[in-house]
């Protein structure tokens, strides 16, 4: 294990020689955090060649991601990957829909208070507008991928 770590540190020296402060220790910590927080979650990343890979994260080793595609594991080297994305799932859609529903309710309540004897058309229009506006805000807020930095870079 010690030999392995020594080899890894030698590898770090090469990375650290690149422009920018790129620390393997920082990258290791971020990889550990990724493993701790997102094992079992569906992640997405771009491998060299601009190919997007998506699958359930099973494990993170010093050099590789182990990803499950439809139940079968696949190994991808992460040395050249700086960012991992967590795409929003069905719950993200539900949250966006929930925001839309509150927007619609606010529109309906607003019109029955503001307009005496509001007819069905008024109620329908304001509810729909509230729903659409709330839904739009909800999707922009709750339906966005999370970008996780796993690089060793220490600058913004």
């Amino acid at each position: 294990m010690n030999k392995f770590l020594f080899s890894l540190l030698l590898g770090c020296a090469v990375i650290a020689a690149q422009p920018g402060v790129n620390l393997q220790a920082v990258r290791d910590i971020r990889l550990q955090n990724l493993k701790r927080d997102y094992t079992g979650s569906t992640i997405r990343f771009i491998v060299p060649g601009s190919t997007s890979v998506m699958g359930m994260l099973k494990d993170v080793t010093d050099k590789n991601f182990i990803i499950s595609h439809n139940g079968s594991p696949a190994v991808y080297g992460h040395e050249e990957i700086d960012y991992v994305f967590i795409d929003p799932g069905f719950t993200g859609k539900l949250m966006a829909f929930g925001v839309g529903l509150i927007g619609g309710a606010a529109g309906y309540m607003g019109v029955i208070i503001a307009k005496k004897n509001a007819n069905a058309s008024w109620k329908g229009v304001t509810s729909s507008l509230g729903l659409a506006l709330g839904g739009r805000i909800g999707f922009k807020t709750f339906f966005k991928p999370i970008k996780i930095d796993i690089s060793g870079k220490t600058r913004e």
Partner: protein, 492 residues
């Protein structure tokens, strides 16, 4: 208002603003005695205070004074080796190509930039004002002492800072410290504590993390093991996702109540945090008078001529003949004076880093309903005519079918300790009240349930919230309750 009320208000204000005033004379003499006993000369003490607090003894705050006393009492205050001269300022030990941050120099200047090359001990730094070649020995070291919420202490050179974390090179390796987990931090440039410039110019988030905007909750509950106390309620964060509060004014009047809040959805990245929560409120003996008071504008008084007037228009100050005036007591049923009350809300919140890099901005959208109108006919005395011979009934208008409130609130960090907050709402039970009436209502039973005020079912409010110190917050705004204040004690 009476003179007694003004005096109470002034005493209360003085109490609030006394939370972190200037150091007390007793604290000063205690510090001087303790420092002398610890072998400090006056110059040593002064140096120690400037290095650690950025202030001289007379300029310390009360909280800082208490902290210094504690340090001397626990023996953690160590005597400074010698007063630092400019020539002795610590020089940066680590400079690497690609470092991009705010650099401090021995001549006192500060530059934002990126190191593009280092040759023969001369560092080329690219800034927005041009590229400068500066000798490496002119760069001040940037070190930090960071204590996280677990009690771990990190000391070392600041290698970098992102929106979410600090990277510190300690004696035993590099540490990545999450800003979210930081309890306290001291930052040094050239070995001297920097308290002013950087913190004020740039901050990640303000000290106050809002649980609610005015009276409306956000989707972010109290963090675990945190105690909360405000003018209306007390609460506790049982976990990071679940908290409970109770309105103590009602509790003391026999109306035991609990208000749990659960965050059921949470996503957080370096720049953004979103959450959704639900909450409940359950009162075992909620006074019928409170329901009638809140919805007095939905109760119709029909006189013998068939003229309908809402109850809130029948108060003493609004009717010509005071004999015709009605109070809540005239309307409430003598049999059903209280009942089980429940409310539920759903709320969504988002916070993100302000694109300017200073603090955060956020919004909250929520909706709340209650069972206040279930059996509402039973809480008014329909059978009995009022002294004026009028009949009492609830309005049949569709806007009074269900008690509801929806709100959209905003927060914006102005400074690390100051936040702008605003809110707009649609609420079929809202009435706007003058400050004096609000004060009377609050001092009556430590709750806000007055029947008075003008109906204003679509309305907005805005104000500021100031973090006096780590645990105490005070807010001012333009609608009831006008003043907000609360304490949060972490790991109570």
């Amino acid at each position: 208002m009476t003179i007694a009320k003004y005096i109470t208000l002034m005493l209360f204000s003085a109490f609030l603003f006394a939370q972190d005033g200037a150091i007390l004379p007793g604290q000063k003499s205690a510090i001087q005695s303790l420092s002398t006993a610890a072998g400090f000369s006056s110059a040593d003490l002064n140096t120690y205070l400037v290095q650690n607090y950025g202030q001289t003894l007379g300029s310390l705050s009360r909280t800082q004074g208490a902290s210094v006393i504690k340090e001397f009492q626990t023996g953690s205050a160590s005597k400074p080796v010698a007063a630092k001269q400019e020539a002795d300022l610590a020089i940066a030990s680590i400079l690497e190509v690609g470092m991009k941050k705010r650099f401090h120099f021995t001549d006192g200047s500060v530059r934002d930039g990126e190191i593009v090359s280092i040759e023969n001990e001369v560092v080329a730094i690219k800034t927005g004002s041009g590229t400068f070649n500066i000798p490496a020995n002119q760069f001040l070291s940037e070190t930090a002492e960071i204590k996280n919420k677990k009690g771990e202490l990190f000391k070392g050179v600041v290698l970098g800072e992102t929106a979410e974390e600090y990277i510190i090179r300690t004696s035993y390796g590099d540490a990545v410290v999450q800003k979210k987990g930081i309890q306290s931090m001291k930052r040094y440039h050239g070995g001297i504590l920097d308290r002013q410039s950087e913190e004020r110019r740039k901050f990640y988030q303000s000290e106050a993390q809002l649980l609610s905007v005015f009276m409306d909750p956000t989707a972010f509950p109290l963090t675990g093991n945190t105690f909360y106390l405000s003018g209306l309620s007390i609460g506790y964060g049982l976990t990071d996702r679940f908290m409970i509060t109770t309105k103590f004014g009602s509790d003391f009047n026999g109306d035991l109540n609990l208000h749990p809040r659960m965050r059921f959805y949470h996503r957080k990245s370096a720049e953004k945090e979103v959450a959704a929560s639900w909450g409940l409120g359950i009162h075992r003996k909620y006074p019928s008078k409170s329901v009638i008071g809140k919805y007095s504008h939905a109760i119709n008084i029909t006189d013998s001529a068939g003229v309908i007037t809402p109850l809130n228009e029948m108060t003493k100050d609004k009717v010509a003949n005071s004999d015709d005036a009605l109070t809540v007591d005239d309307v409430v049923s003598t049999e059903n004076v209280s009942g089980l009350y429940a409310e539920a809300f759903l709320v969504f919140s988002s916070r993100r880093v302000n694109p300017t890099g200073r603090g955060k901005i956020g919004w909250t959208l929520g909706a709340k309903i209650s069972n206040a109108f279930v059996g509402r006919d039973d809480i008014i005395n329909q059978s009995k005519l009022t002294p004026g011979g009028d009949a009492i009934s609830w309005s049949e208008s569709s806007k009074y079918t269900v008690p509801f409130r929806t709100w959209l609130s905003l927060e914006y960090d102005l400074r690390k300790d100051l936040k702008f907050v605003g809110s707009a709402w649609v609420d079929n039970g809202y009435k706007t009240m003058a400050f004096g009436d609000t004060f009377d209502d609050y001092t009556d039973n430590f709750s806000l349930d007055s029947p008075g005020g003008e109906v204003s079912m679509i309305d907005f409010d805005f104000g500021i919230l100031y973090a006096v110190n780590e645990s105490f917050r005070i807010g001012l705004h333009f609608q009831q309750p006008y003043i907000d204040f609360y304490w949060e004690f972490f790991e109570f």
